[in-house]
Symmetry: C2
């Protein structure tokens, strides 16, 4: 019996409903006894399921079938720059923390292109994160051209009620159209650490560009979501 065969057995049992989300899988010791294998073989079989994102390990209590109970990030109903309205958060609301605000920053090429900035033009950068309890679920960094943000609360730690979008509206740059581009990829080491991402869990990387009525790109946001926590919803017309 190989580790792969043990993993295949357990995978089939999870799919067929023998083990439900939240159930504990057999321990290494139980697998050693059931299959007559060495501890390392049993451990490797369990590790394969974890790498596939099918299970989570709770230290001291075992390996459990992962439950996917995502929050909905509804892009159409956004009221916040990150598109995660507090009203959609089931149960206890998310906490939003502003991590850093920096002015007059030279943007990287992707941000420069998205905002159609000339050489030498700079941006105001706002870094935020959304937490459920102490677990960060989403990291968001937004970039607004300095030519727009300078002298407004967008460049201050507290952008005020309604955030960046409300401030943009007050100075005649209300976002009226959005483009979002979604990529799925494995998290970087830094993202794993920043969001405590489980093994076998990708991230959704959303690049969101906000345009005002004149068609000017007034904000670009790079939003990284723990894909184990979210479903991202879009409603649109044919």
């Amino acid at each position: 019996m190989t580790a792969a065969s043990i993993a295949a057995d357990l995978r089939a049992a999870i799919r067929s409903g023998t083990y439900h989300p939240g159930d504990r899988l057999p321990s290494e010791a139980a697998l050693m006894s059931t299959y007559g294998v060495a501890r390392m073989t049993a451990r490797h079989g369990l590790a394969m399921l974890k790498d596939e994102g099918l299970t989570v390990t709770r230290h001291g209590s075992g390996v459990f079938v992962r439950a996917f109970e995502p929050m909905v990030r509804d892009s159409g109903a956004h009221t916040a720059p990150d598109g995660v309205p507090a009203a959609e958060t089931p149960g206890a609301g998310l906490t939003v923390q502003t991590m850093t605000v920096a002015s007059d920053v030279a943007p990287d090429d992707a941000v420069r292109a998205a905002l159609r900035l000339a050489d030498g033009e700079t941006v105001t950068v706002r870094e935020r994160r959304h937490l459920r309890g102490r677990k960060p679920l989403l990291l968001a960094t937004s970039y607004v051209p300095t030519s727009i943000a300078a002298g407004t609360p967008i460049a201050e730690e507290d952008a005020g009620i309604g955030g960046t979008h409300a401030r943009l509206a007050e100075i005649g740059h209300a976002p009226v159209r959005f483009r979002e581009e979604v990529v799925g990829r494995m998290p970087t080491i830094e993202e794993v650490r920043a969001m405590y991402i489980e093994p076998g869990t990708p991230v959704l990387a959303v690049t969101r560009t906000a345009f005002d009525a004149a068609g000017t790109a007034v904000e670009v946001s790079e939003i990284t979501l723990d894909a184990g926590e979210f479903v991202v919803r879009y409603d649109f017309e044919a």
Copy 2:
């Protein structure tokens, strides 16, 4: 020197641009010599980068920095039920293959709920895949209530020009509104095999529901995209 330290060195070198997308990384033998480690340590360090999706292995020629050159799946500009218009495909177009068409199938709970079917109501199922050359990039399975599909080309192998959506329009059920829900997750073993998905690559699982002008859900599609190949784009109003 541990495998993790070797991986960290190579990761930093990839990020800093010492190695560009498409470049070959040092071989196991070169790493053994540079770091003074055993072959298994060098191999394990390279495997860590592969699991993170940073590299790809080409058998017989080495380990290369992965290039992410995605196609855009533009949901707003869709002309096909899968939302991947041929016109958007850079270079050689995608081939679309209809794999199976089955009528009078009992849907699972998710499809039943999305189509708001009563107990005992069945669906017509169409399974397709999109390939670039011989590489499948996208699997799509769509479900239309039998009460709508029966007696139309939707239930036939060749649904005709314009596909399911054109046929729905002809019988007064033209899709006018769509909801898409996007999840990122690791592929199943079956998806890895069906799409030859690289290690360290998640899938984007899109559930797309099409509504007619009366608000009836006329089609649900489960679309699985190799996340190493696509960026999914949405344009919407505030």
